[in-house]
């Protein structure tokens, strides 16, 4: 088992707890109430928020809180083999996973009977798309002036064989000895994990290590989002 640790070298030379280059920007979709772009390595996510706004049909309205809806979509050309535009089952599942990741962020009770819609489009997919989407959505919600408890950080932890690493690329996901993908969303102020998925084969000890690494990185990503929002604010808002 130890042999594989020594032999493993990441294709792009990154250290085990090093993530790809991240950049984020708020206010990229003028029509939306809030928006943001989040780029990590070659993965690019754009999120737009519309809301709070009127919710129809009436029977869907919740008199005590807003309804949060999320849609996740991979653009056809975001992947190597063109993806058909219609939502796949994966897209539908991820829309639900992302909605569940964001629900604890927003003071939904402050917007009774209304809807808050989050749209995420991936224009370039090189693994870690849902995490990039969640970071973009967190920024977009803040950009929209929607009342939130805090910002959310999301990153894919994982393992190459038994070696715990952060932020696998698509190439690394196909690691011959088996890779484990562990996307996490963490809310630092509330200390809550609001999205957690794992695909692969990992020991309990490996899992604990990956989880901790991922949580710490999520905290850093929240700081990055804070900076991006402040920079955008200070630049002054152009209509």
């Amino acid at each position: 088992m130890n042999q594989s640790k020594k032999a493993v070298k990441r294709p792009d030379g990154r250290k085990v707890d090093e993530i790809r280059k991240v950049s984020c920007k708020a206010g990229v979709v003028k029509n939306a109430d809030g928006s943001a772009e989040f780029i990590i390595g070659n993965t690019t996510a754009i999120a737009a928020v519309y809301g709070p706004r009127e919710l129809y049909p009436k029977f869907k309205q919740d008199p005590s809180r807003a309804l949060l809806r999320c849609k996740y979509n991979l653009m056809s050309f975001s992947v190597s083999d063109r993806k058909r535009p219609a939502p796949s089952r994966r897209d539908i599942e991820l829309g639900l996973v992302i909605k569940n990741a964001l629900s604890q962020l927003i003071f939904l009770e402050k917007y009774p009977k209304l809807a808050i819609d989050v749209f995420i489009e991936i224009s370039q997919a090189d693994a870690g798309t849902r995490c990039a989407g969640i970071c973009a959505a967190s920024l977009a919600l803040a950009d929209a002036g929607i009342q939130m408890r805090e910002l959310a950080g999301s990153i894919a932890a994982g393992a190459l064989g038994d070696l715990v690493v952060l932020d696998l690329t698509k190439e690394e996901e196909d690691y011959p000895e088996g890779a484990t993908d562990l996307p996490i969303t963490y809310l630092p102020k509330q200390g809550l994990i609001t999205s957690l998925q794992l695909d692969g084969d990992i020991s309990f000890a490996g899992f604990k290590k990956a989880l901790k690494m991922g949580i710490n990185k999520c905290k850093e990503l929240v700081k990055l989002q804070e900076e991006a929002l402040k920079i955008n604010y200070l630049k002054g808002d152009k209509k």
Binding site: S64, P112, A142, K230
Partner: protein, 235 residues
């Protein structure tokens, strides 16, 4: 962390950022309390008044509050009430008994003679229920149907800047442009001047204030700008 105020007044904060620690601070708009901490719930500027902590938001939809003055557009007319678009996520309602002090027999009167679809009104928000039922009134003296003028929207969060401390900015605008000007707290602006050109200058000035809201000495700057634009117009 020690008790007290953590952030500087007028500094930019993000949701979740701690503004102050201590039970003696009051969480105002845009903040929330978690244990001893008061944290921001909005992206914006910290506003500290003694121990009331608020956030002045950069953006945000207009969420109506009681006593707000708003400019609305009649969306629909019913038997005894109107549905009004006040630039909020939900429509507002104006009941006929809140529209006028005159006695109205709804069985004999078509209330459209007061306000018809697409009319604009200047009204007061008298009630906002927990489930977002918004009630307006145009009974008091200043509220009325607005005659044809220039109507446009600005970001609701910028309205306080356009009005200014004790109305200093809006009064300056009225004096310098010679137009009538009403700014609804819901971000809707109504301008009526003798000349179209004057109305456009006022709109230009309001939009300038919206974009440069964070700058100091804005009132004087805009006053000078208006003087310049008026000169250009008369050339």
């Amino acid at each position: 962390m020690n008790k007290g105020i953590i952030t500087e007044s007028r500094s930019v904060v993000v949701p979740g950022e701690t503004i102050a620690i201590g039970m003696n601070y009051l969480p105002g708009d845009g903040t929330y309390r978690e244990g001893e901490e008061i944290r921001a719930s909005l992206l914006g500027l910290v506003d500290i008044r003694e121990n009331l902590l608020k956030i002045i938001p950069l953006k945000g939809a207009y969420i109506p509050k009681r006593d707000d003055n708003v400019i609305g557009r009649i969306k629909d007319v019913g038997y005894s009430a109107w549905e009004v678009d006040i630039n909020a996520p939900v429509s507002a309602n104006l009941l006929v008994q809140d529209a006028t002090i005159a006695y109205v027999n709804i069985n004999r009167t078509d209330i459209r003679r007061f306000f018809d679809i697409d009319d604009y009104i200047y009204a007061k928000v008298v009630k906002v229920s927990k489930s977002m039922y918004i009630q307006l009134s145009t009974k008091d003296r200043d509220y009325k149907k607005l005659n044809i003028g220039l109507i446009f929207k600005i970001k609701p969060v910028k309205v306080p800047r356009v009005i200014g401390k004790k109305g200093s900015m809006i009064n300056m605008l009225i004096d310098e442009t010679g137009t009538e000007l009403i700014i609804g707290q819901n971000g809707v602006v109504w301008i009526k001047g003798n000349k179209r050109k004057d109305e456009l200058i006022t709109m230009k000035a309001v939009k300038y204030i919206e974009e440069h809201a964070h700058e100091r000495g804005l009132t004087d700057k805009v006053k000078e700008l208006i003087k310049g634009w008026k000169k250009d117009e008369s050339k």
